[in-house]
Symmetry: C2
Amino acid sequence: MTIVQVGSSLVEIAGKTRAAASKLAILSTEAKNQAIAAIAQALESSQEEILQANVADCQAAAAEGIAKPLYKRLQLDEHKLRDAIAGVRDVGKLADPVGKVQIHRELDTGLILKRITCPLGVLGIIFEARPEAAIQIVSLAIKSGNGVILKCGKEAVRSCEAIVKAIKQGLSQTAVSPDAVQLLTTREETLELLKLDKYVDLIIPRGSNSFVRFVQENTRIPVLGHADGICHAYIDQAADINKAVEITVDAKAQYAAVCNAIETLLVHQSIAAEFLPKVAAALAVSNVELKGDKRTLAILPDIAAATETDWETEYSDLILSIKIVDSLEDAIAHINQYGSRHTDVIVTEDIATAEAFFGLVNSAGVFHNCSTRFADGFRYGFGAEVGVSTQQMPPRGPVGLEGLVTYKYQMTGNGHIVASYTGANAKAFIHRDL
Amino acid sequence: MTIVQVGSSLVEIAGKTRAAASKLAILSTEAKNQAIAAIAQALESSQEEILQANVADCQAAAAEGIAKPLYKRLQLDEHKLRDAIAGVRDVGKLADPVGKVQIHRELDTGLILKRITCPLGVLGIIFEARPEAAIQIVSLAIKSGNGVILKCGKEAVRSCEAIVKAIKQGLSQTAVSPDAVQLLTTREETLELLKLDKYVDLIIPRGSNSFVRFVQENTRIPVLGHADGICHAYIDQAADINKAVEITVDAKAQYAAVCNAIETLLVHQSIAAEFLPKVAAALAVSNVELKGDKRTLAILPDIAAATETDWETEYSDLILSIKIVDSLEDAIAHINQYGSRHTDVIVTEDIATAEAFFGLVNSAGVFHNCSTRFADGFRYGFGAEVGVSTQQMPPRGPVGLEGLVTYKYQMTGNGHIVASYTGANAKAFIHRDL
């Protein structure tokens, strides 16, 4: 682990953010929504400045010979910006995740326990090229009552500075202090940010798998995210072949670069001879490159051989590894061994088999007869997605605004003491939910 | 970080536990309750053997000159064992935390999303002297559908071996494999256990603060627990003095060794001259040693001076530090700076002040006019407590059985693919809760 001396300036920034977040945490839904509306307004007013800053970022990136996909993500045109601002207004319309009463219980007469959701405090968000990510993240942070320290990739510094300047300007006329939103721009600050466990309550890294893994291994702050998305489709012996082909093509080729696309196709041996040629033909239309285990090669002799490494590789590309399995149990064992606990699907017409798959596959998403690509906060109806977690503990899977809040136990008494409830004449608790 | 070569034997044990846990995870509530009943029965049948093993442990400990409090915790008499077995039967009566439907939503016709609670997998529990802890932990693990690897302190090895032998014997006649419960007994195995992040989903350390901190810093497995319990009582200017005295005495002296006892008393300057002599007299009855800041010493000249170190010390003993503050804000700032986010109480008759305290104190428990000692899973009505977490992310505070489960998203379709919901003729989602 790299040891970094945390600079006093970043500690100061983090302290300011925490102080602002502490006030933001107890604002009403209305006050937060006003702040979100003001942000949208300010971004609109600063459109020219933001787009010009982005042009400068893009020119500098082009001069440095940036890769084309990265350049595309960096580019912010009028259309993208308008969508991002509309997204801010959408966040305003989402239900407030703060202040929800999860438990309301009378422990004894006059002794009332409530468990109520509250903001986490300060979020640290590290993202790469896409400048509009800053816009979405800030609106979600404000809505959930959290302060936010953003760290953008170096390519997007001018764009993000213009965006954050506009956001702070918008906030300056609201109940939310502009200090609640901060922008860091240097690589050194990323390392410092990861050390600030006294100031930052959650880190959300958005970037490559290796970057997310680096963050997970270099901070004591909880991390929301996933390093890998190794998803599987298992085509059962009782599969409807047409559904199996359509789901496989969608799950692999509809958008191959994302974490909920499949990397490995598991096929029951009794259906392989019929299914594999059909799915191979359908995947060929989308230019998917196939790799197969020995038994697959016996059916599809023209494809490359898959090695052990393939089962643990997230291609994030139009490549699919294929393995023939003897049973549901073998498919499940493969998924639990090589998968990343993200999302896995079984295609079968046998409900009992699907139920067994649901019970025994140890992933955040277990699907039956539909594409893994549905594993997404927006598609789940969360209105927003702050990340996808492949950890075992909640929150896992696609995480909406609820991932940005925690809860407190609030207890109100009237001089109640524990001594009254212990010993020979101990009073009994009522434990009645209100 | 110490690097330990994980021995194949422990990996083998962990693999067996995971396999057994995987079957346990999908058992019905009834099957799990039958297993719990069988455990209680087997422990009763093995009472003599267990008590004899404990006598041997106690004799060995006495011969080694073990400290008296530790000896008392180690000792397991007929009465304690009967209580522990009754506790097992109580766990049988608790609601099953597994299989609860948290979300049930129609995304589109025939595309149904459910979020359902499920077991975490395998728990690693490291505890010290109390052998009956093994009994409680195993029953909670089985109830929540989890396998469990226990590691007991070296003093309790004979007792725990006898207990786990009885438990495995009880399970052998049920749907739960005896492999679901394992016992480790050596210190080296503790270090190995912490490396098994592929096999163990949650570590619960029960022991000293320094031990819990060691565990937190030496594993990538999530840890449920708390290193410190630095709780505060703040006596506001609008406090009822009698309530304030009673609550302070209860929160400090009713049971000083526990994490929910207070370590620091904060007193508003306008009430200090009246309150402090009264509370000092009441605390003297319970032999509480006081330490005060300068202004406190002006009122209570006979007590020792408190230093900066006192504000960050968990005495776990009949010692209380006292500080006079100028305002609610100062009290809150002190708590947020020095506290451990466990439980803090305000004593005041002013509801608005209490509300501000609830909103701004950043702890798992924020109490008003009642003792911090109520912060406990049983008193909250959870039926069982698996630990107290002072982390910011859920689960926090006293954690019941719900801390031993996570959830899965189960989606069922009929050939649904994402391509239908994108592009020019995109279908819209319904997002209707069922």
